[in-house]
């Protein structure tokens, strides 16, 4: 401001030539203290020559910085609240020192946020936008983004998609100095375009249209730069340009999951190809006392392995065989029991031919400790003959089946098959070890896949919240 005081570094008028060279002037401060014409308080002007409006931090009056004596534009006399980062604070962001020169609060009538005006005499202005959760650094664009098709913009060969519709943004609070005429209540129309991490914001005010690029800062960066407590991480109400934190986690989960699946495959495979240990066929008489077969010396390798026992009474017809297994460790005499029923029924009725039951079944015992085992198999065979009535199914399933068939008036049992009148049924017992871990492997697979799936769902949830209009209010 020209106030009659000689400017340091400039020689005073000398009518004789040549003047001796003046010593280099000490660097001038960018801050100049003036007094508020309304309240008399000290107003520090930090961007002299660029600043247009000053809001006195003591009384709230609006001063015209383009007039030499700071003419009062709007008088006010009330204490102002202080921004969280005080005016005049300097901090380093992206390699440049910035000084806080102005602060304003704005709203789109749904949410409120704060914007700090930052200044550096060599870099010009920047905006530090604080949505209460995270900070973004805004730089005014000196180029116009290209409009692509639809609502897509292109800037520096990167696409930005429009976020919502244009909306009014109103200033609700101002303090400090600004390079434009600012006033509480001033409303601009804003349109946002986003890509993860960056927002292009177009502000239209009367005949002016300005573009700002906002880059989201990492958690804690702005707080550290300007000396305020770090914000707590939370992703409940993401900003429109907030990158999903789950995207990277998902990629990691997929990589880890693939490695785990590969290892699981290797282990399952190493756990062994299924290997037949023994097979024998025994004949059991129908409707007689059961028959017991003992297979000795089944050797299981050290560690845990899977044992599968299959009973195959392939040729039975309208009969069932109850099979009980007891696998006993020779050394410890610990035993594991299991059982199954193999059965087969067939006939003809008004609906045509029917058949029921499976003459072959396998039971699997997983995680058997290594050692020598004896397998005791007890076989009890029954023939089912409705006309005979001397052979009644004993299990619930058999009874239900029998009752159903009995109600059918057209029912007619036809005994077919290889040996309908045979007195005994051949049952083949096959013992196998190793092979797929079955249930255990499947469980492991589910556990491995669960993590990426959970992260993926979190990512979808985040993106849904991010795209929700405005920030959702608390549930």
């Amino acid at each position: 401001m020209s106030d009659g005081v000689p400017v340091p570094g400039q020689p005073s008028p000398v009518p004789v030539a040549p003047a001796p060279p003046a010593p280099p002037a000490p660097p001038r401060s960018t801050v100049r203290a003036l007094s508020c014409p309304n309240c008399g308080g000290i107003v520090n002007v930090r961007a002299q020559g660029l600043t247009v409006s000053i809001l006195c931090e003591h009384c709230g009056s609006t001063l015209d910085a383009t007039s030499p004596e700071l003419q009062v534009i709007a008088r006010a006399n009330h204490a102002l609240k202080q921004p969280q980062i005080p005016l005049g604070t300097r901090g380093t962001l992206n390699g440049h020192v910035w000084e806080v020169v102005g602060y304003m609060e704005r709203t789109d009538e749904d949410v409120f946020w704060a914007e700090y005006l930052l200044f550096n005499p060599y870099e010009g202005y920047a905006f530090l936008v604080d949505d209460g959760r995270r900070f973004s650094l805004g730089i005014m664009l000196d180029q116009l983004p290209k409009t692509m098709f639809g609502s897509l913009l292109l800037l520096d060969r990167r696409p930005y998609s429009r976020f919502g519709r244009p909306y009014p943004v109103r200033v609700t609070f101002v303090v400090g100095e600004f390079y434009w005429r600012i006033a509480v209540g001033e409303t601009v129309t804003e349109t946002d375009f986003v890509r993860p991490g960056t927002m292009l914001s177009c502000e239209e005010y009367e005949t002016e249209r300005t573009w700002t690029r906002l880059d989201m800062l990492d958690w804690g960066v702005a707080e550290k730069a300007f000396g305020i407590p770090p914000r707590r991480r939370n992703y409940r109400y993401p900003a429109p340009h907030e990158p999903s934190p789950y995207k990277r986690q998902f990629a990691e989960a997929v990589v880890v999951g693939l490695v785990a699946l590969f290892l699981l495959g290797m282990v399952s495979n190493a756990g062994g190809h299924e290997q037949q240990i023994i097979q024998l066929t025994s004949r059991v008489a129908f409707d007689a006392a059961g028959r017991n077969v003992v297979i000795r010396g089944i050797v299981l390798p050290a560690g845990r392995s899977r044992v599968a026992i299959e009973a195959d009474a392939g040729s039975i017809d309208n009969a069932w065989v109850n099979v009980d297994y007891t696998l006993t460790n020779e050394a410890t005499q610990r035993s594991v029991r299991s059982y199954t029923t193999v059965e087969h029924y067939a006939g003809n009725d008004s609906n045509g031919a029917w058949s029921h039951g499976d003459p072959r079944d396998e039971v699997a015992l997983s995680s058997m400790p290594g050692g020598r085992y004896d397998l005791s198999v007890t076989l009890v065979a029954h023939r089912w003959n409705r006309r005979g009535g001397d052979s009644v199914p004993t299990t619930d399933e058999e009874r239900a089946f029998f009752a159903h068939r009995s109600r059918d008036p057209g029912d007619r049992i036809a005994t077919t098959g290889a040996d309908p009148g045979a007195a005994t049924a051949p049952v083949t017992i096959t013992v196998k070890r190793g092979g797929a871990f079955g249930g255990v492997s499947f469980l492991a697979f589910l556990m491995i896949v669960a993590w990426p799936v959970i992260v993926l769902f979190k990512h979808f949830g985040f993106e849904k919240r991010r795209k929700a209009p405005g920030y959702a209010s608390d549930d």
Binding site: R28, T30, L50, N120, Y125, Q143, R181, T207, E208
Partner: protein, 224 residues
């Protein structure tokens, strides 16, 4: 280069370019007009108010591969602020302007009046402002008008192509292209229309040296 004395106060003054007829005396702020060998003080101009611009007279820089020195400045004001235009004298004797507004810079050079359609020249001459958003083709490149305003001269210093007294008024239309190009159409008090084209640039894009230093602010690496 001509070294002489101010006809008003006698202080030494220097004309660095033969093509720049006006020099503002550093001591008495007289605007000295040079016509042939004659010097004439044609009035006083206002002293440039103190500001925090990193530029100053004597700053050297480079636009592409062409070197320049800042030799003059005009400060303009409009209803909502003020900005500087620094006259860059290139080594080949040509000139350009470094516009400095709100901490942003543009390098502009004058182009011929026939670079735009004559109807537009006539429109600007007649005083009708060009509406913001109007597309205007200059030398085959399409610009969009981004701002149009009435401006007045606040102050000037150094060597200039014209006398810039306080209150000199002009009409200024700013234009932009999508890729950082910019242009300015100005109508001076005499009704002459001048057209400038150039581009937005950061200070480091001009490879400037000799910037002003400010207490407490590190000199940027590019200017050290």
């Amino acid at each position: 280069m001509i070294e002489t004395n101010c006809p008003n106060c006698g202080a030494p003054i220097r004309f660095g370019s033969n093509d720049l007829p006006v020099k503002v005396c550093d001591y008495c702020h007289s605007s000295v007009l040079r016509t042939g060998g004659n010097l004439q003080a044609i009035g006083k101009v206002a002293e440039v108010p103190e500001d925090v611009s990193p530029l100053q007279l004597g700053v050297r820089g480079r636009d592409g591969d062409r070197r320049f020195e800042l030799v003059g400045r005009v400060r303009w004001r409009y209803a909502d602020g003020a900005w500087n235009e620094w006259l860059a004298l290139f080594d080949d004797g040509s000139t350009g302007w470094v516009g400095e507004s709100s901490g942003r810079y543009m390098m502009l050079r004058q182009v011929a009046e026939n670079a735009i359609a004559s109807v537009l020249v006539d429109q600007v001459k007649s005083g009708r402002l060009i509406a913001v958003g109007t597309p205007i083709t200059i030398n085959g490149i399409e610009y969009i008008a981004s701002d149009a305003k009435q401006v007045t001269c606040v102050a000037s210093e150094g060597e200039l192509p014209f006398h810039a007294p306080l209150g000199l008024s002009a009409v200024s239309v700013d234009l932009m292209t999508p890729d950082g190009g910019c242009a300015s159409i100005q109508k001076d008090t005499d009704g002459e229309v001048e057209i400038y084209t150039g581009r937005y640039t950061a200070l480091d894009g001009l490879h400037v040296t000799g910037l002003r230093s400010f207490e407490g602010w590190p000199m940027p690496a590019f200017a050290a």
